[in-house]
Subunit: 455 residues, 2 copies
C-alpha cells in the first residue's frame, strides 16, 4: 500500500540539515580555480581576504570537505522561515492530465521573496563573527539586496546596497523593503565612489548596470575599515549555503521513499540550481543513483546553451578575479527581460564544470512562454511565481506534457525559487501583449566572447 503523499511535505525542526553539503568534494574534475586577473595565478586566501570574510574565503577555496557544519546561530535563523515546503503539485497534474508526479520546492515564503536569504544569513553571520561593522553588495532586481538587509538587521550589521539606478527608480518598493530592514540603498552609479564618479562623468544620464554596481560595492568594501563585500550567486560559498534547499528536498523525498527522475531549476548565476541539485548530484557523481538534471535559462541570456567555456571576468568593471565558466563575455549586455535574477553573462564555475562533464543538460526558453507557464501555474497552484522561477515551471510543464504522450509516470521536481509580487509590471506587459522575446544574434555573442581575456 502506497502512503498517501500530502500536498506539502514539511520536515520537523529536528530533521532539518545540520550541515551544508559541499558538492565539490565529490567531483573528480574540480571546478577551475579563481585566477588573479593580473598574474593569472590561482587566487590565494590572502589575496581574497581584503574582499571577503575569512571564513567565507575558506569555504570558497575548500574543494575537499563534503559536509560543513551550519553554525547554531544560522540554524536558529533558518528555523524562522525554514524548512520550506516540498509541494506536490496535485492541481497542476490534474490540469495537465499527466501521469507525471510533479513536486516543487518552494523558497518564496519569506520576506525576501526568494532562496537568497539562505546564503545572506550565512554571509552576515561570518561577517559578524569576524567583528566587522558591515558589508556592501550590489543588487539588480532587488531580491538579494532584500535578503542581505534582513540578515544584517538580524545580526546588527550595517548594510550598504548599491542598486542599479534603473531598478532603484523603477522598483521603489523593493528599495523600501530594504529600508524597513535598515539598509542604506544607493542608486548606482553614484558620487560615493571613484568608479561611480567616473561612470557619471563618462556616461551622463546612464541607467547603471550590475557590473558597475559590483565595482562600487567592492570599492567601498575594500576602502572602508571593518567592511567586506558579499555576493548572492556564482561563488562556490553561495552554492554551499544553498545546498540546504537540496538537502531538505532529499530528506523530504526520503521520508516517503520517493526518488525523483528529473530535477529542474532556473539558472542565472547558479545559486538556486546548484543548491537544489547538490545532494542528488552527489549521488550521481558517486555512482549511487542517476537523475536527469536540467538547467533552464532565458533565451535572451543563454550562457550554458550558447556561451563559451573559458576564463572570464565576473564583473563588467573587470576588477574581480577571473572565473572559468560558461560565459557570453563580461561585456555582454543582456536584453532587458523581466527575469533580472537570470541576466548574468556567466555561470557558477562548479555548475560549469558539471555541465562540461555531461552531468547535466540545459535549455533556454522564451520569455513569453515563461509568463504563459507562470500564469497557468498560478491559476491552479495558487502561488504567483517570480519570473526567474517560472523558467523552471515552463520546462516542468513541457516534460509533464511529454509524459502525457508517452504514458510515463516520471517524478519531476523543480525549484520554485520565489514569488513575483514585485514583478507585476512584467505581468502587466505580458497581459497587455507588450512583452517581447529577445534572442541575441550569433554575431552579437561572437563579438562579445571575442573579448575574453587570454589565459
Amino acid at each position: 500500500m502506497a502512503t498517501t503523499i500530502p500536498y506539502k511535505i514539511y520536515l520537523e525542526e529536528n530533521e532539518m540539515p545540520k550541515s551544508w553539503y559541499n558538492l565539490r568534494a565529490d567531483m573528480k574534475n574540480k571546478p577551475a580555480p579563481l585566477l588573479n586577473p593580473g598574474t593569472h595565478q590561482p587566487m590565494t586566501a590572502e589575496e581574497l581576504a581584503p574582499v571577503f570574510c575569512e571564513e567565507l574565503v575558506k569555504q570558497e577555496l575548500d574543494n575537499d570537505t563534503a559536509f560543513i557544519e551550519i553554525p547554531e546561530e544560522i540554524r536558529s535563523f533558518y528555523k524562522m522561515y525554514r524548512p520550506s515546503p516540498l509541494v506536490r503539485a496535485y492541481c497542476l497534474e490534474e490540469k495537465l492530465q499527466t501521469p507525471a508526479k510533479i513536486y516543487y520546492k518552494f523558497e518564496g515564503n519569506n520576506t525576501s521573496g526568494s532562496h537568497k536569504l539562505n546564503s545572506a544569513i550565512a554571509q552576515a553571520y561570518y561577517a559578524k563573527k569576524q567583528g566587522l561593522k558591515g558589508v556592501t553588495t550590489e543588487t539588480g532586481a532587488g531580491q538579494w539586496g532584500t535578503a542581505l538587509s534582513m540578515a544584517c538587521s538580524y545580526f546588527g550589521l550595517d548594510c550598504k546596497v548599491y542598486m542599479v539606478k534603473v531598478s532603484y527608480e523603477q522598483k521603489p518598493f523593493r528599495r523600501e523593503v530594504m529600508r524597513v530592514y535598515g539598509a542604506s540603498v544607493t542608486p548606482s552609479p553614484s558620487e560615493t565612489t571613484n568608479i561611480g564618479k567616473k561612470m557619471l562623468a563618462d556616461f551622463p544620464g546612464t541607467n547603471g548596470s550590475l557590473g558597475c554596481a559590483i565595482s562600487e560595492a567592492v570599492e567601498v568594501a575594500t576602502s572602508t575599515e571593518g567592511y567586506r563585500y558579499v555576493l548572492g550567486s556564482v561563488l562556490n560559498q553561495v552554492l554551499l549555503h544553498q545546498s540546504v534547499i537540496g538537502l531538505e528536498t532529499k530528506a523530504a523525498f526520503d521520508k516517503y521513499g520517493i526518488k525523483p527522475d528529473m530535477i529542474i531549476g532556473c539558472a542565472g548565476g547558479g545559486s538556486n540550481l546548484g543548491g537544489l541539485i547538490a545532494p542528488f548530484m552527489g549521488e550521481k557523481l558517486r555512482g549511487e543513483a542517476d537523475y536527469e538534471i536540467i538547467a533552464v535559462e532565458p533565451r535572451s541570456c543563454p550562457s550554458f546553451t550558447r556561451g563559451t567555456y573559458a576564463y572570464d571576468f565576473c564583473d563588467t568593471g573587470m576588477v574581480c578575479p577571473l572565473a572559468k565558466m560558461y560565459t557570453l563575455g563580461s561585456g555582454f549586455m543582456p536584453a532587458p527581460n523581466h527575469a533580472g535574477g537570470l541576466r548574468y553573462h556567466g555561470m557558477s564555475s562548479t555548475l560549469s564544470q558539471l555541465y562540461a562533464d555531461g552531468y547535466m543538460t540545459a535549455r533556454s526558453v522564451a520569455q513569453t512562454d515563461v509568463f504563459a507557464a507562470a500564469e497557468e501555474f498560478a491559476r491552479v497552484e495558487g502561488i504567483l511565481p517570480a519570473p526567474e522561477s517560472s523558467h523552471a515551471i515552463k520546462v516542468a510543464i513541457d516534460e509533464a506534457k511529454k509524459c502525457r504522450e508517452t504514458g510515463e509516470e516520471k517524478t519531476i521536481v523543480f525549484g520554485l525559487t520565489g514569488t513575483g509580487y514585485f514583478d507585476m509590471y512584467a505581468y502587466e506587459q505580458f497581459h497587455d501583449g507588450k512583452m517581447e522575446d529577445y534572442i541575441p544574434s550569433d554575431e552579437e555573442i561572437a563579438a562579445s566572447v571575442a573579448g575574453l581575456p587570454q589565459v
Copy 2:
C-alpha cells in the same frame, strides 16, 4: 520536563479542521438579525437569495449548528496553503526582554497575502455548486479581490471585481495580480452600472468609495443571470469560514499543552478577529476557560471604542440590509489611513454582541505607532507585516512590555493576518516622516451617528 516548542508549529494534514465552528451556537445572546431596510423585519432566506448563494444564506441565518462540515473540495484547496504556521516569536521576545511567551498565527503565506482566501474559496465553492456562472464583489485595498480571484480561477467561475477608483489607480499591481487569476477589474464608480453612472454624473472626478463599489457589485449581481454577490468580512458566514484560523491555532496549542492567556487581533469588519478567537470564545461562553480577548482598531476609524451599538446600513449606498453593530454611521468617511482593510464604519454583528456583553475589550491605536511596531517586528521576526496586522502587533508588543515590568509570564497570541508587500508606499511615508495620525473629532462622530436609521 517541558517539551521544547518549535519556532513554527504546523499541524499535519490529517489534524486540519474538518468542520468550521459556528460561534453563534454557543452565544446566549444571539447576534441581532439583519433587517429588511424597507420593513425593518428580519431578512428571510427568500429575501437574501437574489443577493447571496443559497447555502451561504443558510449559513448566514444559522445561529444553532455549532459545527458545519467543510466540504471535501474546500479542504483540498485549504491543503494547498494551509495549515498556516503558529509561530513562536522567540526573536521578538528576546528583543523585548520579556518573560511573556508570544505566538502569532501567520495567514500571509499565500498569494492573496492574507486570511481572506479562507472565506473566498468557500464562497466560490458554494456559487459553483449552485451552478452559477460567476460572482461580483468590491475591493478596496485589494486583498479580498485578490483572494476571490484566486478562488474563482480554481473553480472556473467568472469574477467581476469593482475596485475603488483611487486604489485601482494607486495600486496597479494589486489589480494586475487579479488579472493573473483571470478576474475582470473595473474601477468604481464606472459606466457599467446605473449607480455608477449616477455617481459619475453627480460627482465628476470622484475617487470612488467602498460604499459605492459595494452598490455597483450588488447591482450587477442582482441584475445578471447566474451571478451572486459575495463579501469578504462583516457577515456571519465569513466569520464561520474564518474559524479555521482559530481551530488550527487551538489544535496547535493543544498539541503542546499550551493555554494562551491573551488573544489579540486587528478588527475592521471582524473577519480575522472573529475567526481567530472562535474556539477560544466558545470555551469562554460555555464557562470552560477564560481568555483575555482584545480587538485592535485604528484610531482613525474607532467603531468599537467610539461607535454606537445600533442598527445601521452596511454600505454607504444604503441598498444592503440593516445590521446591528458598533458603528460610526454609514456616512462616516474614515481618514485615508494606510490600513484599508480596517477602514470600515461598522463591525461584525456577532463580535458587536460579544463586545456589548463584555466578553472582549477593544483598543484603538495611532497609525505611526503601528508602523513603528511593524518595523520592529519585521527586523527581528523577518516577516514584513501588513498595516492591518500591525495593529495587533502593536498591542502584543505593549502587553509583552507590561509583562517585562510585572514579571508575568503571560502567553500572548495574536493574528498576523497578512503581508505588506503591496503597502510599501505606506512604509515609505512612514520612513520619510510624512505619515499622519488622524483622529476624528467628537463632533464628527456625533454628526455621523446622528444619521443612523430609526429602527
